[in-house]
């Protein structure tokens, strides 16, 4: 049962990646132009019918494989770079710089991350680029805080003290000992963060903050389908299931990454 879920999650994510790469070649129609009557059922226009403007829904979802997971990837990368940089600098330099950076990070954490992202969209103006940047920046404070904690914990390890005692310079300790050891945990953190970024991107685009309504990302398609719920349920079921499957798969794979729990008496 557990194995089956592992395979399913892996299969789904690989499928999304492959479809994203192949989208322009395997899509039966242009995702931006009407090809048939609006709101045709999957029977009348296989495989998934058409949307309210007569565009082929399957082609739109295929191109959405590029936009939604890709946008979340960019956001998560932005968070990774900004968040881990802030966290590392605060932890390594310490003192006054740590206090200032931590104060800024804690202040930003006082605003719920998704709301912070919405606020940034308000500032930049709606658009998919804006949404990517806003989700990336909105997730950065939490990421910075965890990175700082990881780094501070590592700095208490014996091998760091040993390196110091042996007369290693600070840059040597940071680049040879600290960063390589922190990298694993940061990557795991980034994986779990990716699920949040994906959820955030689809939520903001669902709310219509991507600006351009012709953009075939999953959140926007879900939003368009919402008005035709009873006439054309497939119009919302298809993008909604794609989003949900992706989130569940990332959650599942992220959970299997976390280190096995040690019994209390070993520590």
């Amino acid at each position: 049962m557990k194995r089956l879920a592992d395979y399913l999650a892996f299969f789904w994510l690989s499928l999304v990646v492959i479809l994203a790469i192949l989208a322009p070649w395997i899509a039966p129609a242009n995702p931006y132009h009407p090809v048939a009557d609006p709101l045709l059922s999957p029977h009348a226009h296989p495989p998934l019918g058409t949307d309210n403007l007569g565009r082929d829904l399957w082609s739109r979802l295929l191109f959405g494989c590029r936009i939604s997971p890709g946008a979340a990837l960019l956001s998560a990368l932005l968070t990774l770079v900004i968040g881990s940089l802030l966290g590392f600098v605060a932890a390594i330099l310490g003192g006054k710089i740590d206090r200032i950076l931590s104060a800024v990070v804690n202040a930003a954490l006082a605003v719920p991350a998704l709301l912070l992202a919405m606020l940034l969209v308000a500032g930049f103006g709606p658009g998919i680029t804006t949404v990517i940047v806003a989700i990336g920046l909105g997730g950065a404070p939490a990421f910075a805080r965890v990175t700082r904690t990881i780094c501070l914990q590592l700095m208490e390890k014996e091998y760091i003290y040993a390196a110091e005692a042996l007369g290693a310079t600070r840059p040597h300790i940071v680049f040879r000992h600290l960063l390589p050891n922190a990298a694993g945990q940061i990557v795991i953190l980034a994986t779990t963060h990716y699920a949040w970024a994906f959820m955030g991107i689809t939520t903001l685009t669902f709310l219509g903050l991507a600006g351009d309504p012709s953009l075939p990302d999953w959140g926007s398609i879900l939003n368009q389908g919402r008005s035709f719920l009873t006439q054309a349920p497939w119009f919302v079921l298809a993008p909604g299931s794609a989003i949900t499957m992706t989130i569940l798969s990332i959650h599942h794979i992220g959970a299997s990454f976390t280190a096995p729990e040690f019994p209390a008496h070993i520590r």
């Binding site: 202040a107 605003v111 991350a113 939520t203 919302v236 909604g240």
Partner: protein, 320 residues
């Protein structure tokens, strides 16, 4: 005996006072972040009016001066802070009505939804968490764990739409009006509560499993206390504070979740107002809503801390 009650009373009071002070600082920080996040990214808030042909260049200049937008950013920030204490959050760029008025018109509706959602999240979260730990190797426990996973994985937007679809198709024969109480509060609150229940259920489940492994549980078992009582009293009690903190964390999620649920169920409220103000570029409203929500978020954390301290005496000693 007298000295004991005195000391604990003082300590509790001091804890409350300190947490309130910390909360005040956090709220100030949140407002500051809100202000600068918007002003550093937005550039000129009035240029949108001009580019859409809603105002002439002259009108914009006079508006700029009347709204105090010609002052340096730091001065505007200090004015905004001072305004908050007077309940003045600026005026809407479009309606010219005070932002506080616009917000307070929508606040009760959102609070109603958020509180019902939180209530459902907490009760559902506890039921799921307890079931999945108590009947871990049985069907019910596995089912509860599955539902927990679904609650954390399903986006609010999709569960909301599915719920709406289910109700619309099964109550098709009813006239539209008779649906309204369900569509208006029960359904959105259920959707919102379900989404937030997952996190709480996980914390409850983890807490229960951890306390079941503790030596004192063996002692309780040796005293011959029944499993149900052992479970729901001795094991559950120590896992309450983390569950309470998690509920406060979920409050943040809940508040952003109201934006989505209000959109899906066409329910008026702060969420709708926020999205509309973002799409229209009505900055003062967006800023005011985020500031208010951040203050509520801070308050929920303080409240959760105080509840935790009230439940767990060990935390009381630590915080003194």
């Amino acid at each position: 005996m007298v000295s004991f009650t005195d000391r604990s009373g003082n300590g509790a009071l001091r804890t409350v006072a300190r947490r309130l002070l910390e909360g005040l600082i956090t709220a100030w920080a949140a407002v500051t972040v809100t202000f600068f996040a918007l002003h550093l990214t937005a550039g000129d808030p009035l240029s949108g009016l001009f580019s859409r042909g809603l105002a002439t260049q002259e009108q914009i200049e006079t508006t700029r001066i009347s709204l105090g937008l010609d002052a340096p950013l730091l001065i505007q920030y200090l004015r905004y802070l001072a305004g908050i204490f007077r309940g003045d959050l600026g005026v809407s760029l479009y309606t010219r009505r005070p932002v506080s008025q616009e917000i307070f018109a929508q606040l009760p509706s959102t609070l109603e939804l958020a509180f019902s959602g939180l209530l459902i999240a907490i009760s559902l979260g506890f039921v799921l968490g307890i079931l999945s730990a108590w009947r871990e190797h049985h069907f019910t426990g596995k089912l509860a764990a599955l539902v927990t996973g679904m609650a954390t994985g399903f986006p609010v937007a999709f569960t909301g739409i599915l719920a709406l679809y289910a109700v619309r198709t099964s109550y098709q024969h009813l006239p539209n009006g008779s649906l309204s109480p369900i569509q208006h509060l029960v359904l959105p609150a259920l959707v919102l509560g379900f989404a937030s229940a997952g996190g709480i259920a996980r914390v409850v489940h983890a807490g229960l499993r951890e306390s079941m492994r503790k030596p004192y549980m063996l002692a309780v078992q040796a005293r011959g206390i029944q499993r149900g009582f052992r479970f729901l009293w001795h094991a559950l009690k120590p896992s309450l504070p983390p569950a309470v903190s998690m509920s406060a964390l979920e409050a943040a999620f809940l508040l952003s979740g109201t934006v989505v649920t209000e959109t899906i169920f066409a329910r008026p409220g702060l969420g709708r107002l926020l999205i509309d103000s973002i799409l229209d570029g009505d900055y003062p409203i967006a800023m005011g809503i985020v500031a208010i929500v951040a203050i509520f978020y801070t308050l929920s954390h303080i409240f959760a801390d105080l509840v935790s301290v009230a439940i767990d005496p060990r935390l009381r000693r630590r915080s003194q």
